[in-house]
Every structure is written in C-alpha cells, then in structure tokens.
C-alpha cells in the first residue's frame, strides 16, 4: 500500500517564482491494482508520480510505502527504493541517445551486478513483447515516436519491479499498440504488480484492468473512482 497524507509540493519554495504543484493531497493507492491519474495539463499528475516514485521529496506531508515512511529519507535510500520498487516510463521517454535500444533497455540492471546474459535475455524478451525485437540493435534516435515510447516501456519493465509508474505511456501509440500495452498491464496486474498511469486517453480509462481512477485539478485530488 502507498499512502500520501497531506502532501504538498512547492517548486522554488520561498522565491518569487514559487509554484504550488500539489496542495494537501491525501490518497491511498492499493498494491496489486492499476490506478490511472487524470486531469488537465498542469494539474500535478507528473509531480505526484515523481513523489510516489521517490524521485523528489514533498515540501510538506508524509508518504509511506508499505507502511514505511519514505518522505524524509536521504537521497541514497531513495535511490535504493527506486531501484528495487519502481520501473519508470517518463513523459518524454528519456532514452539515452547514441546507445542502442537494447543497451537502453538494459540500463536499469547495470548497477545490480546480474549476469549480463540473463539481463540481455530479459531485455530482448520485453522488446519482443512490444514488437521491437527487430529494432533492438538500432540506435534509439532513429526510432519513430511510437517505437521510442515502447522502448521506454521495455526499459521500465526490465527489472521486474513491483511497481510500474508510467507517465502518459500511450500518448504516441495507435489503437493496436495501446491494446498491446494494456495486455502487458493486465499481465502485470495478474502477477500482483502495481501500475500507476497518467492518461488523457478514454480507451485506457475504460479498459478492463483499471481498478481506480484518480481525478486531479489544480494540484488537488478531486475524485477517486474505483
């Protein structure tokens, strides 16, 4: 279970350009479900995911992961949590240019010291599942928008993390590929994993595996539907 109590995030705090991106958010996210965050642009969805994903710390309030508080931990503990708990698909993909698709997908495993052959096999399997097998050895900058997005998804899945955090993962995918992604999400849910998504896409929200929809506006949670 992931809980947020009274969590606020103010960027540039104390300076004239301060922005309150989240305002006193209290929310409980069940483990083993698929939660979709919706809301207009700038409503704080990405900010919320970055707090839950231990990428940043809240300005005020408390976040717990399976009962353990994470909001006050120093950076190296947060890194460790990120590594062990989360796989990320970023809104802008953030693949590393100049490396091949396969190298990019294998990146999250590099610090784990696993057998490189096992990692590579896993990475190839993920790429295969997303229809990117033939592109594995291409440099990422030649991929199309949709291929880039799928490479980013494959990278998020490579470490088999218990929580997948995906920010607008289907914005560049057509209907067929969106369904492919949703199949993966359903499979993850069936394995007992937790998936957090943001999306504007009605196909996602209506999809079968979704267990909760969180509606946000102006940095606040306005509605939770399960």
């Amino acid at each position: 279970m992931i809980t947020l109590s009274d969590v606020s995030k103010i960027y540039n705090e104390g300076r004239p350009n301060a922005v309150t991106a989240l305002h006193a958010v209290t929310l409980t996210i069940a483990r083993g479900g698929v939660t979709v965050f919706m809301g207009p642009s700038g409503s704080g969805k990405t900010t919320l995911l970055s707090l839950v994903g231990c990428m940043a710390r809240p300005s005020t309030g408390r976040i717990t992961l399976d009962g353990a508080p994470v909001s006050g931990l120093p950076e190296r503990f947060l890194t460790d949590l990120r590594r062990r708990h989360f796989g990320f698909v970023f809104q802008r993909f953030n693949l590393i240019r100049g490396l091949t698709v396969l190298d990019n997908v294998m990146l999250p495993a590099a610090p784990l010291g696993e057998d490189p052959r096992a990692v590579q096999a896993r990475a190839l399997a993920r790429l295969e599942a997303l229809g990117l097998g033939p592109k594995a050895l291409m440099p990422v900058e030649v991929l199309s928008g949709g291929e880039t997005q799928r490479a980013a998804i494959a990278r998020a899945l490579v470490n088999d993390a218990p929580v997948l955090i995906a920010d607008e993962p289907t914005a560049n995918l057509d209907t067929a590929l969106t369904h492919r992604f949703l199949d993966i999400v359903a499979a993850l849910r069936d394995q007992g994993k937790t998936v957090l998504l943001t999306s504007h896409d009605p196909r996602i929200i209506a999809a079968a595996p979704v267990s909760a929809v969180v509606e946000m506006r102006d940095g606040q949670v306005v509605e939770v539907r399960s």
């Binding site: 990405t46 900010t47 995911l49 970055s50 990428m55 940043a56 710390r57 950076e75 190296r76 890194t79 460790d80 990120r82 590594r83 989360f86 990320f88 970023f90 809104q91 802008r92 953030n94 590393i96 240019r97 100049g98 490396l99 190298d103 990146l107 999250p108 495993a109 590099a110 610090p111 784990l112 010291g113 696993e114 057998d115 490189p116 990278r155 470490n159 920010d167």
Partner: protein, 378 residues
Amino acid sequence: MNALRRQRALADYTIAALSRRKVKNLALVAVFSLVVFLLASAMFFASALRQEADAALEGAPDLIVQQLSLGRQAMISADLIDDLASIRGVRDVRGRLWGYYYDRVSGANYTVMVPEAGQMPPPGQVIIGEGIARARGLEWQGAPLFLSRKQGDLNRFDVAQTFESDSALLTADLLLMNAADFRAFFSVPEDMFTDLAASVRNPRERATVVDKASRAMPDARFVTRDDIARTYMKLFDWREGMMVALAAVAMLAFAIFAADKASGLSAEEAREIGILKAIGWDTRDVIAMKLWEGGFVSLGAFLLGTTAAYAHVFWAGAPLFAPVLKGWAVIYPAFRLAPGVDLSELVVLLLLTTLPYAAATVVPVWRAASADPDAVMR
C-alpha cells in the same frame, strides 16, 4: 562476483558512451596526450642528461693539472709528473694527450684523445664515436678515415671500431688515437702532454694536495673532481631549468584543460546523469562510471603520451629540445641519448595525469548526481 559484474556493466556503458562522441573524445585524448608527451619528454630528457653527467663524472680523475702560460692553458712538461707524484697522498700520475680537431669535411669539431694503455688502438687505427661515423659515412669496420691538418697533408687511419657507450653525448664526437699517431698528427713533442691526471688516495686530502702542489708548481692550474662535478651540475642545472620551465608550461595547459572540465557539465551530460539516477543508478554508480571514463581517457593519454615521448627522446634524439642542447657538440643531432626511465618519476607522472583529471571530472558529476532526479520527469 556481483560487485565485479557491476563494474563490468558500468565499464561497458562507459565504452558505449565514449564511442558515441568519437570526435570529441578523440580530440580530448589527443590534447591530453600532447600535454603528457611534453611533460614526459622533459622528464626523460632531464634524467637522460643526469645519467650523462654521472657517466662523465665516473671517468673523471681526482685531480687534473694544467700548465698555464700567460694565463691560458698550454702543454705541460713530462718532468712535472715526478714532481706531482712525490707529493704525499698522490698516486698514479699520468700525462694525458687530448685536444680538439676541426674537421673541414663534416664541418664539425672532434674531441681527439689518447686512451689509457688498455684501450689504446694500434698505430694507424682509430676508434670513433657514432657521431663521427655518421658524419663521415663510415659504415663498415676497417673503413679508412682521412684526416688532414694542413693543405696537402693527408693522414689515413683505419676505423678499428665504433663506440658502444652508455653516454652518447660524451662519446659521439670522440676519436681515440694511438699516442704515437697523436704526437705525429698534432706535432706534439715527446716530453709534452695536454695535461696531467692523478688520483688522490683519500678524497678528503684533495684540498691539501692541491695546496702543496700549487706551491711546488706555481704556473699550474688544478682542477679537482669536485670542480668538475660542480661544472657539470651548473651545466645540467641550467639545462634542467629549461626543462622545468617547459614542464611548467605543460602543467599550465593541463590546469586550464582540467579547470574547463571541472567548470561544469553540458546540459546533455547533466540530463544523462539525471536519467541514470532516475532509473535506479546510485550516485556511486554514476561516479564509478565517470571514473571509468576518466580512467580510459587519462590512461589512454598517459600511454600514448609517454610512448611518444620515449620515441621522441631516445629514438629521435629529442629534436624538440635541440635549442637546449646546441653548443654541446657540433655533431649534435646525430647522437642518441641512452634510454633510461626512472620508474618513480613515471609513477609520479601517472598520478599527476590521472588524479587531477579524475578529480576534475568527479566533482561536477558528484554535484549533479546528488541532486533529486525529478527534473527528468518532465
């Protein structure tokens, strides 16, 4: 096993990352190698010179006696050998025959010497330094060497052998002759020598010996081994000083280079670090990766630079330092310094090139890597 695999994965990543920006990184290694090359050249050269000085001093006698005439050096009479030998503490007095010969054919000055009995070439034969052999094109043993002192008078000598010596600087222009040949060729009377050399039983007695001898021989000048050492010191100190100046310039270049590196990461590098952190790389992992990068670059530059410097100094005869060496011997560019590398100096150079570079790369990376990575979320 895990830690090893982790380093392996980080190193693999580094190689992939380095090969992305081939031109930039090759340029970096090139500049860096050049700095190392200059430093290492200066270092090899300085220690080769020091070795030369040591070699020169090793063969130097304890005491040299020169005859002065009107304040200038003249030939010394063989009679003085016994006078000198009679002073307590002095032994092995011998008269030496040596001088300079200007060779019009090669336009160079040779140092002509009569060696001690054991190394004396038979009459009609000479032993020559590499420089002379090269200057006169005497490639084979037994080649004739024609020398002439005045118009119309040509003397033929046979080259018995060419020098093999540790100290090319000192032997390059050396020509060894039989004593009788020397006297005949330079018209030196039978009872005269260039100077006298003696050994002194106890090095601490040298000053007393000189004191006594100068009273017995008022027209002589005495040069002790210490004087020679001091002269060499001065000579080499000056030359080394030039090297130090050069090294300073190279260090300065390196400092500018490192400062530029330390002043910050490009936006792209910073973002890359953010991405790596976001997907679970530790600050330690990022720094280790950058250390690998710095290691590849600086070790590569070190190997390239020192190899090039070795070739430059010991194979090519340090052409870059020609101005420093000029005046040593006219034969100059033809000699080769004896290869010799001081291991401890090499280690210092290695640390000097890798450590500041590593520090210069790690500091900004550490700063970037300790920040929250949430910037990559958008």
